[in-house]
Symmetry: C2
Subunit: 142 residues, 2 copies
DNA sequence: TGCAAATGTTTGTACATACAAATAAAAGGG
DNA sequence: CCCTTTTATTTGTATGTACAAACATTTGCA
């Protein structure tokens, strides 16, 4: 039974969560090449482009809670992909030599994933749809 | 910084996950009234409408993996909202007196949530959007 | 008829995330 | 200048989900 036909197919909660899970599954497969979950890969890419970045801005850019950012950074620190220094109140996050080497491959994954999506969903449709999705969250939460 | 403006605003993985998290947050607030997570509420509503339902069909209808279904049923069993019987190879799930009493309130929550969504996003926009979202997962995974 | 493959469900384990509370530092006001 | 409030981050804890492996039952076929 397809979601669209199911009892609760009109529910935004249901639809968005189902979509996110399926999308994540595809994304996981793509980022497997660099042995990273897509979510960690995004964090890493930001750190690579903005050395010294702090958890606060990361939080805003990734739309995650502060505690989730801390946890993600910890995990990447364990794998020697970022380092963290705390001075006064501010924590700064830096990439490492290891993660710098990965940079081109990370961007390759972004491209790959995009190609996968457009191939499956259609380029125009995909862009339009992602655009809509980006607009909704601001409307939903204060 | 909004997702739409951020570096990775074109990415379907990023957009759909962000949307799902924000939507879930709103949904949690609505279903708080019945002290259930929206995901468990959906399971319960299906069980209430299809007594004797088995994990397999639930899996299909909810688009979740078998193990997740097992875990959800366990949790609801602990709270005496469902019971499970296993005979031969098939497990059947039934509602309880307690959960039957909740039924009208569950549907109220569905309505509440829908009203919230349409008020925030716009009714036409909301329906159109949910429709699109329901179609994409089938294209993404085999 | 008996064994192998298929099917349905559960268990072990891991992970991403969130909320609430704790901590630490800075800023502001009397 | 000290005390309170605010801000930034981390910790403790809980939850929802998935994957892989285990298990149990049924089916199919040789």
């Amino acid at each position: 039974m397809k979601a669209a036909n199911s009892r609760y197919g009109r529910c935004m909660y249901f639809a968005s969560n189902t979509l996110a899970r399926k999308t994540e599954k595809l994304a996981n497969a793509v980022w497997k090449k660099v042995d990273l979950s897509p979510s960690h890969a995004y964090l890493l890419m930001i750190v690579l482009e903005e050395p010294r970045v702090q958890p606060g801005p990361l939080r805003q850019e990734l739309h995650l809670t502060p505690s989730t950012i801390t946890r993600q950074v910890e995990k990447r620190e364990d794998k020697k992909l970022v380092v963290r220094t705390t001075e006064d109140k501010t924590t700064s996050i830096y990439h490492t030599a290891k993660s710098k080497e990965m940079k081109p491959f990370l961007h390759e994954c972004v491209d790959d994933f995009y190609k996968n999506c457009t191939a499956l969903v259609g380029k125009h449709e995909c862009n339009r749809f992602v655009n809509s999705m980006n607009k909704i969250p601001d409307k939903l939460v204060s």
